[in-house]
Amino acid sequence: MLSALKSRVARIHRLLLAALCSSAVMGARTADLKVIANPSVKQSELSGEEIRGVFLVTKTSLSDGSRVEPVLLKGGPVHQTFVTQYLGKSDFALETYYRSLVFTGKGLMPIALPSDAAVVAYVARTKGAVGYVSAAAIISGVKILDIK
């Protein structure tokens, strides 16, 4: 009976350890940056596909009807992390993609701002704006979106 109990405890311990590692990985991914939106965006969470759609300008509105506009950081590690992990592109490939929209008339170049503070300020005052900032950025007047 004691050995069965020890075995069960060990199994629970392994499961907890796996869960902690998993959440640590997820936490690390989302803890690197925050996705923020203007309060006019009704949704509180976005799927990976919705994030890609917003920032690749294939979506101009979400399923709840909210109009959206992407706002990017102009370079830096947070920008690199976002572009690589959420959009699956290199920085140069993303720039080329936006240029292909601009030079074929299929879209405008999304606005890119130099700092977390600039992104937060722009998102706060621009209806439908969705951006990303570092996890440590001070935010005010915007909502944080969870990424499913």
Partner: protein, 387 residues
């Protein structure tokens, strides 16, 4: 800098670009590129490349803006010179209004770039590509205006498939175009002693379907484009121009591309069936069935350096024409290695080497009066600026 100045510096850019959705947002972009070509044998693409030619210039300027939440409009002017082609004539590359009703349906009307294969609508935008010359069997620089754009209307949209199946986007179009009298077909006809008058005109219609697969970075698609054209040829000793007409010019393309991190690969197959006739006397002027394909790969070895290579093949499965075809003129192979340096976001340099076998694409009798050599080695150098 105090807080009021900082706030002003944050507000001013926002005012320039437009602050709220629904407000007019305007953007102005452009590019200019200058290139050089040097070949070992033959003169290529109507330029005197065997002696080295810098007759290769392109420029574009565009102005576009969001007029309302779902409506965008813009215009792009374009000019080019490639050897004896283009002549720096100023053209409207595109000019249209775009209304996106829903994600799955939108409308464009005006002069719109035509979707056909991977690169048809961007082949004249030099800053978008690693390559100085795209695979010429499918994207001929001397005849790109033939399929580049149409004046008419488009229906387009995108939809997510059930989870695990990716998404699809589509584009259908119908319109017309006036053939470029400064382009390769007109020069080839003049070289054959049968110059075509300016103003050859016809309809274009077709569509493109693109599948973004569940495997991130992998896209596959297919396009079909149909066209007709009516023109008038000046025939020696005939007092009036003679009408020529093409009622079936069909391009079909199947393609795929894969992008992962620093690596990119693509491949495409294109088939063209084209019949030209003199309708009054029912004389067949030309009938061709051409097939072409390429495979390409690129790798970004450094944030400022991209390297790539491609192989392309072109052949006429059937070619019947009033003008004789030179030996080696029924096929063309091209092995290419290229590098692109981007010192900053605005400036770029390209260096490219070609080994061509065959004379089917890009070789003109008037610029090669001594005939063609089957093999050509070519180097292309380009410098460009875009904003």
């Amino acid at each position: 800098m105090d807080r009021r100045c900082l706030a002003l510096w944050l507000v001013i850019p926002a005012c320039v670009w437009g602050q709220d959705l629904g407000a007019v947002k305007l953007q102005f972009h452009g590019l200019v590129a200058q290139g050089g070509l040097l070949s070992s044998h033959n003169n290529y693409l109507t330029a005197k490349t065997s002696q080295g030619s810098t007759q290769w210039t392109e420029a574009a300027l565009n102005l576009s803006g969001t007029v309302a939440d779902n409506f965008r409009a813009g215009i792009q002017l374009h000019t080019y010179r490639l050897g004896e082609l283009g002549q720096l004539k100023l053209d409207i590359d595109w000019a249209y209004g775009d209304y996106r009703l829903r994600e799955w349906i939108g409308f464009r009307a005006g002069k719109v770039k035509t979707p056909l294969g991977l690169f048809n609508d961007t082949q004249d935008i030099d800053n978008l590509h690693l390559w100085s010359l795209l695979p010429q069997g499918i994207y001929p620089a001397d005849n790109r205006s033939w399929t580049l754009a149409h004046t008419g209307g488009d229906l387009y949209g995108r939809a997510d498939l059930p989870p695990g199946f990716g998404s699809v986007s589509y584009q259908g179009y119908f319109g017309s175009r006036t053939a470029d009298s400064e382009g390769g077909y007109f020069k080839a006809a003049a070289d054959a002693g049968l110059p075509v008058e300016a103003g050859a005109f016809g309809r274009l219609y077709g569509g493109d379907l693109r599948w973004r697969t569940p495997l991130r970075g992998l896209t596959a698609g297919a396009s079909v484009g149909l066209a007709d054209v009516t023109g008038h040829v000046v025939v020696p000793k005939v007092p009036l121009p003679v009408t020529i007409q093409s009622t079936s010019d069909t391009n079909t393309a199947v393609y795929g591309e894969y992008e992962h991190g620093k690596f990119y690969a693509a491949g495409e197959f294109r088939r063209r069936i084209w019949n030209l006739a003199q309708p009054d006397f029912r004389i067949q002027v030309a009938s061709l069935d051409s097939r072409a394909w390429y495979v390409m790969g690129t790798y970004r070895v450094h944030p400022k350096l991209n390297l790539g290579a491609y192989y392309s093949h072109f052949e006429y499965a059937r070619l019947v024409a009033v003008a004789p075809i030179a030996p080696g003129g029924a096929y063309g192979d091209d092995w290419v290695a290229a590098a692109r340096i981007d010192p900053n976001p605005y400036l770029y340099l390209k260096l490219e080497a070609h080994y061509l076998n065959g004379n089917a694409i890009g070789f003109y009798p008037s610029t090669n009066p001594a005939g063609f050599d089957r093999l050509t080695r070519l180097v292309a150098l380009k410098i460009g600026f875009s904003f």
